[in-house]
């Protein structure tokens, strides 16, 4: 069965477009929900809501700082998911958080609370294939799309195993490193997309290190699209407001549409 995240991305791809998934830190400022709606209106196909964790080892300084601000403001997984319940953002949602948030809540309760909050997908970057078994089972039962990451370090025989189990899309890690804007796109961004594309029909998106519209175009040349995080979150941290963030997202959308 194809879930809402995958359906939206397939629709974009099948229409000849490139997919744009945008990360928004949950609980960051009072207007983060407005930001999410504005990002959807500006052309994001799916929105990732970051649920802040105290020890985000896959995240660089920008998302770490945003996390700290949100946590200091009292954001919790429960407050963020509750806020999403009636939010009607306009596009399918995924959360990105770390495994302990789900583990502490209890996997079944966590999955259920995602569904109740209208969240379809879930990314847990510190949960590799070796440890994902229990979560994949719970997610399947609850109807959550567990989005798995595929790293540049993965040997060839590992990638098909990831593609078989991921739902929504396969998240190609664009570089060796943590999230954050880089001055140039890493060669590994195109490479991971090229390695994934021939072995799966699931949408192939590349994230980590995609900071500008032109990098997004380059990174999606061999895959189906990109995930943009830190560049957007930086605007949130800078208090650009929903319109200011949406402006950047519209630039990404326009660049991807123009190819």
């Amino acid at each position: 069965m194809i879930g809402p995240v995958e359906a939206a991305l397939r629709a974009r791809r099948d229409g000849g477009g490139k997919c744009l998934v945008v990360y928004v830190t949950g609980g960051l400022g009072d207007d983060w929900l407005d930001t999410a709606r504005a990002v959807a209106a500006a052309g994001a196909d799916v929105i990732e809501i970051g649920v802040p964790f105290s020890d985000p080892v896959m995240d660089g300084p920008t998302i770490q700082a945003a996390n700290d601000v949100a946590l200091a403001g009292g954001a919790t997984p429960v407050s963020i998911l509750n806020a999403l319940r009636d939010a009607d953002v306009g596009v399918p949602l995924a959360v990105m958080t770390y495994y302990n948030i789900a583990f502490r809540m209890g996997l079944e309760r966590f999955a259920e609370s995602l569904i109740v909050s209208g969240v379809s997908g879930c990314i847990l970057p510190d949960l590799p294939l070796e440890e994902a078994g229990p979560w994949l089972e719970v997610a399947a039962d609850a109807g959550v799309e567990p989005i798995l990451l595929a790293a540049p370090t993965a040997p060839d025989d590992r990638l098909p195993r990831i593609c078989e189990r991921t739902r929504g899309f396969v998240y190609g890690v664009g570089l060796l490193g943590v999230t954050g804007v880089r001055s140039e796109l890493a060669a590994s961004a195109v490479e991971i997309a090229s390695r994934l594309k021939p072995i799966t029909d699931v949408p192939v998106l590349v994230g980590v290190g995609i900071g500008t519209p032109s990098q997004a175009v380059e990174a999606s040349s061999h895959g189906d699209g990109v995930v943009v995080g830190s560049a957007v979150v930086q605007r949130m941290v800078d208090r650009a407001g929903p319109e200011g963030v949406a402006e950047l997202v519209a630039d990404f959308r326009a660049a991807l549409d123009a190819g």
């Binding site: 020890d55 660089g60 997984p77 302990n100 583990f103 590799p128 440890e131 990451l149 595929a150 370090t153």
Partner: protein, 384 residues
């Protein structure tokens, strides 16, 4: 029972695992394969044993504390890991990992450090073997362990200050892991305790088993058998698991002593951070709490998974002592035996001192995991 090898998926009972980003999975899988090969290779073992003997100064002695024994009413022995080169037990693990890293073709050692003892040991091994070394240390610890920061730099290591979160050991681990994600091709993460993703908890224990073996032999010679009790401080738990390994098959009671402000076993519930499923101090939502301890080396909200397992099956018990009790024990050993302990093993001594009535007449071995030179400046302020 003797301490077991973990299951193929890296579990000690229900604890352990490999909760790392996909990027690092090939590295931890390769590390396990290479460690198994090296450990089975007589050449590697001979080389490591030679370094432990001729460079680190093993075996370390076991000292009977006659003065303190009569004050406390038990028979107290210290396993003298403080006398190793670089001043703590950390060198056992670091020499093992550095040799292994070299064998794997890695050119750079990456380490986290709390008190600086593991950082100094890593910098030392890197200097000896001609490797690059980068040590992450929380900003709070950089300040309270100035001397060790200088030592690391003197040894040629780069010390990077971790400015995120609580700015202590937990955050130094986060930064080291972020670095490793980016540099995994050339870097070996020389993790300093029996924590992190499989195979680290098992591999680091294996490298520290030498101190447990020695302590067992020394107990046979000094006591005619294993002691009634073995006591060691626990942050991540490497010195404790090292000495426990020598006595786990005996009737000896095993006691780990945590700081009251960082009692992962005592106050924690199972959680997943830094690659492992283990007891963890966390809030109701799963956010990791900041530990608070006088000792930078134990200032850690988690604990190695094998300790969680030993606690859950009741083979070892875990107790907590306060900072004040530690300060007292630090002075007690200095005055009564002429041995200045590090603040970390002063936790073990503090527990023995507090529980002296219950320990009357018993034989007790405390693992004196490090020496106190690094803590003297901090103690000058505290006692002023």
């Amino acid at each position: 029972m003797t301490l077991q090898e973990p299951t193929p998926d890296g579990r000690f009972g229900e604890f352990g695992g490999r909760f790392v980003p996909e990027t690092l999975i090939p590295a931890v899988l390769e590390l396990e394969v290479e460690f198994r090969k090296a450990w089975a290779d007589p050449t590697f073992r001979t080389e490591l044993d030679a370094l432990l003997a001729d460079y680190a100064g093993r075996p370390s002695p076991m000292t009977e504390c006659h003065n303190l024994s009569s004050e406390l009413g038990c028979r107290l022995f210290l396993k003298r890991e403080d006398l190793n080169h670089t001043g703590s037990h950390k060198i056992n693990n670091v020499l093992g990992q550095a040799l292994l890293a070299q064998r794997m073709g890695k050119t750079r050692l990456l380490a986290e450090t709390g008190a600086g003892q593991h950082g100094v040991a890593s910098a030392t091994a890197a200097a000896l073997l001609g490797m690059e070394c980068c040590v992450y240390m929380g900003e709070v610890d950089v300040k309270r362990q100035e001397l060790n920061v200088f030592r690391m730099r003197l040894l040629g290591a780069e010390v990077r200050t971790a400015m995120s979160g609580s700015r202590t050991l937990k955050d130094a681990v986060n930064e080291a892991m972020r670095d490793w994600v980016a540099t995994v091709a050339e870097s070996h993460y020389c993790l300093g305790s029996v924590m992190g993703p499989h195979p680290y908890p098992w591999m680091v224990r294996t490298f520290h088993e030498v101190l447990g073996r020695e302590a067992r032999e020394q107990s046979e010679a000094l006591l005619g058998g294993p002691p009634d009790m073995v006591v060691a401080c626990v942050g991540g738990g490497s010195n404790a698991i090292g000495i426990f390994s020598g006595f786990s098959d005996a009737a000896t009671e095993l006691v780990g002593v945590e700081p009251a402000g960082g009692a992962a076993v005592g106050r924690g519930v199972p959680g997943v951070v830094h690659g492992m499923d283990s007891y963890l101090m966390q809030d109701e939502f799963g956010q990791v709490l900041e530990a608070e301890s006088i000792s930078a080396g134990l200032d850690y909200p988690g604990v190695g998974p094998e300790h969680s397992h030993l606690a859950s099956i009741g083979r070892a018990r875990y107790e907590a002592v306060t900072d004040d009790e530690v300060v007292e024990a630090f002075q007690l050993l200095s005055r009564s035996e002429g041995i200045i302990p590090a603040l970390e093993p002063a936790h073990a001594l503090a527990w023995v001192s507090r529980e002296r009535a219950a320990l009357a007449g018993k034989s007790v071995v405390v693992n004196l995991s490090g020496r106190g030179d690094k803590d003297v400046a901090q103690m000058m302020d505290i006692l002023a």
